[in-house]
């Protein structure tokens, strides 16, 4: 009966109570939304590359190797010689190996030389393969497959010509060897979207007339001649490696790191991703802290609402007292009322979150490659909701204590 009366009392103040509940609901939705984006971003980030057991490059730092080989950020300090690559590729514990050659660019996008095997073995978001929206994987020496962002930003279609620039943000272009767009990849939410992919041989081909980073004056080998040439690369930037059995990963990693002929580094992508996330993850913690403060603000708003309602409710409290209610009953009624408000707010917040997720999920996925799974609330989210209700009860103790003191002082007589 007391609970029913408390709810009836809330209904009687529908406007202010509704606003309070709405504020709590929005703050809870925001908090849970940030939490969703945070875990989604983390998962998407960790899923940038999957299925690859080791990344091999010249010796530097693991995060640096990860950054330039997977995220196309920064540059390799050194290359891996073709001989070392061949040595590693020849090992029996290796299932597959994909070479990567970086260093050139097209507009703001990086150009990556690789083999057909890249399309078979590069996996993202728990083992998804790259797929083409249009065209085919490069067939000719001067064919290129471009990522979804490249196509969207530059408005490229199949068969459009592309001129690769030498180096990054460079004004010297490989004008003599224009490429043709043969395929456009589906959006993946990974750095592949922002990559122009050509074959390893093409990387060699466009550098035929170049020496020490500059084009030889007056020299320009015709494309037909280049096609006839031996285009074995002299060096690669990095290699993605899959092992026969996961048990061999560490042994292979050790073997590569101790490779005598050249200083090499092999990293576990998952570990390096974790390490990198540790660096970028500070921002998300700050975001989470801010949204937690929004929840606290909403709860304090509720406290203010209850405080301001006390004066007009002294009569109500006096009636309860006259009927034999103890001051503690008055106190617990106010706490109960706050908990009901917080609980309704929290549940409404969850509802808002799911509505928001249903609307935002496809948009976020296509625009940012950020996949937010819609599932049953997690235990963590349940804990958050419980925390909101408990915090609601706690902040309501302040006005409830005041009501307690008022009801002791007033008794059943209210001097109005």
């Amino acid at each position: 009966m007391i609970l029913r009366l408390a709810i009836a009392s809330l209904f009687a103040r529908a406007l202010t109570v509704g606003m309070t509940i709405l504020a709590i609901a929005l703050s809870v939705a925001l908090f849970l939304g940030v939490e969703k984006v945070r875990t989604g971003a983390k998962a998407s980030f960790a899923d940038t590359i999957s299925g690859t057991d080791l990344i091999v490059g010249a010796r530097s730092g693991s995060v640096q190797l990860l950054l330039y080989s997977v995220f196309r950020i920064g540059n390799a300090t050194n290359n891996v010689t073709w001989e070392s690559y061949q040595d590693i590729a020849a090992r029996t514990d290796i299932d597959w190996i994909v070479p990567i050659s970086l260093g050139d660019s097209h507009r703001q996008f990086r150009v990556m030389g690789t083999t057909q095997a890249f399309f078979d073995h590069y996996k993202y978001r728990q083992g998804r393969s790259l797929a083409l929206t249009d065209g085919a994987i490069m067939d000719d020496l001067f064919d290129t497959v471009i990522g979804a962002d490249v196509a969207a930003t530059l408005g490229y279609k199949i068969d459009d010509p592309i001129i690769v620039a030498h180096g990054l943000a460079s004004f010297t272009e490989h004008k003599d060897q224009p490429f043709r767009v043969s395929g456009i990849l589906e959006k993946t939410g990974t750095p592949v979207d922002r990559t122009v992919i050509i074959s390893m041989e093409a990387i060699e081909a466009i550098h035929v007339d170049w020496q020490s980073g500059a084009q030889l004056p007056g020299q320009s080998t015709p494309a037909d001649v280049i096609r006839g040439m031996e285009l074995t690369p002299k060096a690669i930037t990095a290699a993605l490696v899959g092992v026969e059995s996961p048990l061999q990963t560490f042994a292979l990693q050790r073997a590569i790191n101790q490779y005598a002929e050249e200083p090499l580094l092999a990293i576990l992508p998952g570990v390096a991703l974790q390490e990198l996330w540790g660096i970028v993850g500070i921002a998300e913690t700050a975001l989470l802290a801010v949204s937690a403060m929004v929840v606290v603000t909403a709860l304090i708003g509720m406290m203010a609402t209850i405080f301001s309602s006390l004066n007009e409710r002294r009569r109500e409290m006096a009636i309860f007292r006259a009927m034999g209610a103890r001051p503690v009953t008055i106190l617990s009624m106010l706490v109960l009322e706050a908990m009901v408000m917080a609980a309704i707010g929290a549940l409404l917040g969850v509802l808002l979150l799911y509505i928001g997720l249903v609307i935002a999920q496809p948009i976020l996925d296509s625009a940012y490659g950020l996949w937010l799974p819609i599932g049953a609330p997690t235990i963590r989210e349940g804990t958050v909701l419980l925390g909101v209700v408990c915090s609601g009860a706690m902040v309501s103790l302040a006005p409830a204590m005041r009501a307690y003191r008022l009801s002791v002082a007033d008794g059943m007589m209210v001097k109005t």
Partner: protein
């Protein structure tokens, strides 16, 4: 004896230091007593002492055989819930509750009274009918009623579960003369039927003829104001 006060003294806390002493006041079982007093005569304080929401500095307050001055705050609240039905001057009802909610409210805090009421909703409907409230009024929102009806609902609430003592604080002052008479008829009808004691406070001496006994505040109590 339903109510017996002996040698009670109460000093208000705080700045306005003044005190109320009541040497003797009693209300017998089934007796109706009108207590006349002007405002500021200490009526409200006396009612609070009887109801146990404040505790006297000395003396005894006996409610249906229990000296409530020896009890804890919670126990006094319990005695009030079980033994006393309270009717205010006005604004008796919780505006957001139905008439039924309001009538049943004291039973929530008084298990013995609840048991005595039997089927509480039936009893509440019976009281409403006896107090000439319209049929089906129990489902109405308390605020939908006229002031006179609200006062009668307050009587039903005070009477439910038959507490031995009814305390009424100027219950008729918000009513016009005709309604006053009708209200008192209904109230007395019920208290007589159930042999309930009634202590009503008023400043209107014309009501006196309907009561067994009329006492004046200044005859039973002294107020001392400390010199400023």
């Amino acid at each position: 004896m339903t109510l017996k006060i002996a040698d009670v003294a109460y000093r208000w806390p705080g700045r306005a230091a003044f005190s109320l002493t009541v040497p003797h006041l009693s209300v017998a079982t089934g007796e109706s007593v009108l207590l006349l007093g002007e405002s500021g005569s200490g009526k409200s304080t006396l009612l609070s002492l009887i109801c146990g929401t404040i505790l006297p500095d000395q003396g005894k307050v006996d409610i249906a055989g229990t000296d409530i001055t020896t009890l804890s705050g919670g126990a006094r609240d319990k005695v009030r819930a079980e033994q006393i039905g309270v009717i205010f001057q006005q604004f008796n009802l919780l505006p957001f509750g139905s008439v039924m909610d309001n009538i049943l409210l004291p039973l929530r805090f008084a298990p013995v009274r609840r048991k005595r009421a039997g089927d509480a909703t039936v009893e509440a409907s019976r009281l409403c009918a006896a107090l000439s409230l319209p049929l089906g009024v129990t489902r109405a929102k308390a605020t939908a009623l006229s002031v006179g009806q609200q006062q009668r609902v307050a009587v039903a609430r005070a009477l439910i579960g038959q507490p031995p003592l009814i305390i009424a604080d100027e219950p008729t002052s918000a009513l016009d003369a005709n309604s006053q008479a009708a209200f008192l008829d209904l109230l007395f009808g019920q208290t007589t039927t159930h042999n309930t004691s009634l202590l009503m406070v008023s400043h209107d001496r014309r009501l006196g003829e309907r009561f067994d006994r009329v006492i004046r505040m200044e005859d039973i109590a002294q107020i001392e104001r400390a010199a400023a």
